[in-house]
Every structure is written in C-alpha cells, then in structure tokens.
C-alpha cells in the first residue's frame, strides 16, 4: 500500500534549454485528488513527468513512501505509478484492446501471456471510461474524445496506486469531462494518489480535494479549493482577465472575460 508521493526541491531543465522547474516541493497523499493548475509553460507537464520518474532531475528527489522513485526498474515503477500522457502518436495499426492491454504490461508474465484477470481489468476500465464500444477498433479510427477516454482507460487498467494524469479532458465534451473527473475522484476516494494537470479550473474546483498552483516553474500555492480559487491567488498567476464567483451551492467558479466587461450592443 502506497501512502505518499513526494517531490522534494525538484529542479529540472531540458538539455540546451532554460531551467523549467526551480525547486518544487509537492506532497501527494493517499486518498487525495490534487489538481495541478497554472498557465501554459509553467512547468505542469514537466513536474508530472518528474513525479512519474520519467525524467533525470538536476536536483531534488522524488520519494514514493520515502524510497527514491528512480531506484527501481521501469517495471517496478509501473506497478506503482500510472501515467496518462498529454500526447501520443497516431498509432495507426494498434487496436484499442491491445492498446489498453499495454497498461497490463508490467503485470503480465512474458512466458504466460494475459490471463482472465487482465482481460477483466481491460474491460472494466473501458466501461469506467465509457469507451467499451471502441474496443475492437483501431486507435486511429477513434474521435479525439474517444481516444482520450481510451488513454485514461489504459492507465486505470494498470491498477497502480498512483495515477498521474496530464490534461485528460482537452478533447472531451462537457458531459464526458464530468465522467473522467468523477472517475478520478472515485479512484482517489478508493485510496489512490491522483494528480491531474488541467486547465479546467471549474471541474478541478468541484472534484479536487486540493489544488496546487504552479507559476514559472515554482509552486506558488497548495491548499483547499476554497482557499485558492480566489482572485488574490490566481490573478497574479493567470492575469486579470478572470472573473471569480460562487454557484448557488457555494462552489467557487471562474470564467474568463474581457478586462472591461464589454457586452455586444443590441
């Protein structure tokens, strides 16, 4: 049972590029759904890659229950940490079922092959992501939204204790956005660690147990939705063209709008 994933003073830069992360510390605890928000280029995806153990850090460390994440093999890591990447190539000739089966790679014995349990995991994760109807098709035949749900399904099928999700809702219609966030919230409440990089501040507000705000490679705030979904916190990060409010049941929301609230005349 994994209890926490911790980034401590993480510094990272791409080769020949500027430094992207300047000493970020972030603690993720079992049962939490943390939404990592921040403007484009603030280093969200990079932090997620670091926390997945996919990047060589310049400084700092990633600890999974106090053990350095990169000390083990890729396979050992995949048993604990699942990633939903932001981009994947088109995957012309990969069938959806085989793609999701990829999530079981670390659990399948090379000499035995997939067992009944693996088939069940694939099916139930496709059901959870409302993508079962895609199972026999090729990845390249799917719509953007179906594809995104299938990619999430693969990570669910991995049955890892930690789920790191990079913008899972960008091509989804509002209803399916809710489906994915509900699913992530349920997985968190069942005792996993879930980190979501997202620009959907309102969905993040409804489903997250906490927000983390990244700005120019530094973590500027981490706390409850109520505390952070405010102009004082987010305006310095996102700029002034945001309008903050609360729904009737008290959930904070934010809408983008022109600085001078101009309305079309007529």
């Amino acid at each position: 049972m994994v209890n926490q994933l911790v980034a401590r003073d993480v510094c990272f830069g791409y080769p020949f590029g500027p430094r992207v992360l300047h000493g970020v510390s972030l603690e993720l605890v079992r049962g939490e759904l943390v939404s990592l928000v921040g403007p484009n280029g603030s280093g969200k995806s990079t932090l997620l890659r670091c926390m997945a153990g996919l990047a060589e850090l310049e400084a700092g460390e990633i600890l999974l229950d106090d053990k350095p994440l990169r000390s083990g093999s890729a396979r050992e890591r995949a048993l604990q940490v699942a990633v939903v990447p932001q981009f994947l190539p088109s995957l012309f000739d990969v069938r959806v079922e085989d793609f999701v089966l990829g999530g079981r790679y670390a659990r399948i014995d090379r000499w035995v092959g997939p067992k009944a349990g693996d088939r069940e995991a694939i099916e139930s994760s496709l059901v959870a992501c409302d993508a079962l109807e895609c199972r026999g098709r090729a990845m390249s035949e799917l719509s953007g939204g179906q594809r995104q749900r299938v990619v999430v399904a693969r990570a669910i099928a991995q049955e890892a204790a930690v789920l790191l999700v990079d913008e899972p809702t960008t091509s989804l219609d509002p209803d399916h956005q809710v489906t994915i966030f509900e699913l992530l919230a349920r997985l968190a409440s069942e005792g996993r660690i879930v980190l979501v990089v997202t620009h959907e501040l309102n969905l993040a507000a409804q489903f997250s147990t906490a927000l983390a705000v990244l700005h120019e490679g530094r973590l500027v705030a981490r706390g409850s939705v109520d505390a952070l979904m405010r102009g004082e916190v987010l305006t310095p990060v996102y700029g002034e063209r945001l309008h903050f409010g609360r729904t009737d049941d008290g959930c904070p929301f934010v809408v983008p709008r022109a600085r001078l609230a101009r309305r079309p005349q007529g």
Binding site: A74, E76, V94
Partner: protein, 352 residues
C-alpha cells in the same frame, strides 16, 4: 481466432515444403523426384549416395534451397525488428549499416584473395575465397552496426533519430571506402568483376558453411523475439510512454538492434545485397492483418523464407538459365513496391 493460430503453421509448412520441392527439382539438369529424394537422404546418411555427379548436383541444390530459406527468414525477421525499433515501417537493416559494411567486408576479402594481401595469406588461398568473403562481410557488417550504435550512444541514451542520422553518416563513409576500392581496382578485371558480382548477391554454389552461418545467426536472433516483441508494440507510443508502462527501453533497443544486425549480417554475408526482403516481408504481413509485433515477428520467419524461395523458384522456372540473381530481382520488384508503400502511407497520413 484459435483455428487461425493453429492452422498458420500448417499452411506455412505446406507452402515451404512445396517450394523446397520445386527448388530441388528445378535446374539445368533434369532430375527425377526419386533421385532428389535419394540424394537428400544420402546427405543425411539415410541411404546410399547416387552416382557422383548426380549426387553433387543434388547436394548443391539442397544447400541452395536451405540457404535461401535461411536468408529469407533472417532478412524478414531483421526487417521486422528494425521497423519496430525505428517506429517506422519504411526502415530496413541497411539503415544501421549492415549492407554497406557487408559490401566493404566482401570487397576487402576479394582484395586479399585477389593477391593484394601479404604472401602469407596467398600461399594458402586455395579454396579460401569461399570462406573468406562471407566471413569478412559478416564481421564487417556487424562491426559497422556496432560503430553506428556506439557513436549514436556516445552521449548517454541514444535516441532513435540519432541512430538514424549516425547510420546515414556511417553508411556514407563505408560506401565511400567501398567505392574507393572499386575505383582503384578498375583495371584489375578479375577483382573488379568479383566485387561487382558480389553486390548483385547470389544463391548459387552455396555450401554447408553458408547454411551454418545463416542458420546459427538466425537461431540466436530468434531467441531475442520473446524479449522484444511486446516491448516493440508498446514503443509505438514513444519511448517515454513505453517506459511509463514498465518497458526497459534501453534494453529493448539494444536487444532488438543486436538481433537485427546479427540476422541481417549473416544473410547479406551469405547471399549478397538482398536486404530488400527485410523491408517487403513485414509489409506483406501487415497487408494480411499482422500489425502487432507479437505476431509479426514470428510470422516473418516462415513468410520471409517462403517469399525469397518462392521468388527464386518462380524466376528460375520462368527464365531458366537466364534467371537474374536474387539481389537484382529484389531491386526490380522492390523499388516499385517501396513507391507503392510511400504513396499508400501518405494517403493514410492525410486521411488522419
């Protein structure tokens, strides 16, 4: 699904048996089926050898057929591995320097046999050329690939793009050296003819040594398949994605590269430049719906063997003694096929 898996070996078995029988029967001197069977049996020590010249013909044909099978299988397997490694269906073993290295090795061996070496070697050169040329080209092909891999990974982790670019550069150097040898020996009729003939590739006059080289390498490369097949499928999503799923990406690349280089080097060393089989066969398999490397790599073995032997039997049957060497034929057929693939894949991209 199950019946298909079960019946595939049966179909391949029938196809390969038929083609082998055809290959043994075809040739400049007509032999009865019984003679061929008896002669083959004699090679295995099962029956009395035939009359000397007939026995010799049968043995030549058996080695030729076996070599062709092995070379076809090795090239197809190597092509499948390389395409998986480069995540590009248009990649072939020539990319990592196998063909160029083999050519240079063969040219060096021909120089030695042709009298350009110290007398030491020359004195014992009777019958040496038959061994020296495949051996040199095999070793040179492996060395060239090793050089490509070594330069590409000199700065830590080698990306596939670096491997590709280094492969192109090293290929250029190697073919420069090869062209230099060709140019300098232009006046030496025998030597330049031998070098030129080698580049066409040949399946004639193969011996047990040739067969042993190609089948031993093929066996070792085949052992790698269970360790890279699933991994190559996952690499389709990119190296980082595969790593996140638990794939040891560096090891997969290493194993696939070594296996591909070994199989292709042996095949090219034995039969000359017919690496095109490596590009074509995986594609034919994809046209028949084998997209996953878990299946494709296994199918590549019998399919490659059948493809090369079938092409060889077909052209010997059609053209008789005037048949082209397999390398020439493969370029004639392979070039248009490559264009067809390019056009097709462009359409795929644009519809996506």
């Amino acid at each position: 699904m199950r019946t298909r898996v079960l019946s595939a070996p049966l179909w391949y078995g029938l196809l390969l048996t038929g083609l082998t029988a055809g290959s043994l029967m075809l040739g400049s001197s007509a032999l009865a089926a019984g003679e061929v069977l008896e002669g083959t049996g004699a090679m295995l020590g099962l029956c009395e050898p035939l009359e000397r010249s007939t026995q010799a013909i049968v043995e030549l044909r058996v080695w030729r057929a076996l070599c062709t099978l092995g070379v076809g299988a090795a090239l197809a397997l190597s092509g499948g591995l390389i395409q998986g490694l480069f995540r590009n269906a248009l990649a072939s073993p020539s990319l990592i320097g196998v063909t160029g290295g083999a050519s240079l090795g063969a040219a060096c061996a021909i120089l030695i046999v042709g009298g350009y070496a110290p007398r030491l070697v020359l004195e014992s050169s009777v019958g040496l050329d038959a061994l020296l040329v495949p051996l040199f080209s095999f070793v040179m092909a492996l060395c060239t690939t090793a050089l490509v891999a070594w330069i590409a990974s000199a700065r830590g982790r080698a990306s596939v793009t670096t491997l590709l670019l280094v492969g192109i550069a090293v290929n250029m150097c190697v073919s420069g050296a090869f062209a230099t040898i060709q140019y300098l020996t232009l006046e030496e009729w025998e030597v330049s003819r031998a070098i030129l003939a080698w580049t066409f590739g040949t399946l004639d006059d193969r011996s047990g040594f040739h067969c042993l080289t190609v089948f031993a390498s093929l066996a070792v490369s085949t052992l790698a398949v269970p360790f890279v097949a699933r991994e190559l499928d996952l690499l389709k999503g990119g190296e980082e994605d595969a790593e996140a799923l638990g794939v040891d990406v560096a090891r997969t690349k290493r194993v696939a590269l070594v296996a591909a280089a070994l199989a292709a080097s042996a095949a090219v060393a034995v039969a000359g430049q017919i690496a095109f089989v490596g590009l074509v066969v995986p594609h034919l398999l994809r046209l028949f719906g084998q997209h996953s490397y878990r299946q494709l790599l296994w199918h590549a073995l019998p399919a490659g063997a059948a493809f090369l032997l079938g092409a060889d039997v077909l052209q010997r049957w059609l053209f008789g003694a005037g048949a082209l060497q397999p390398g020439v034929m493969m370029s004639l057929v392979g070039g248009p096929f490559f264009l067809f693939l390019l056009v097709r894949s462009r359409r795929e991209v644009s519809t996506w």
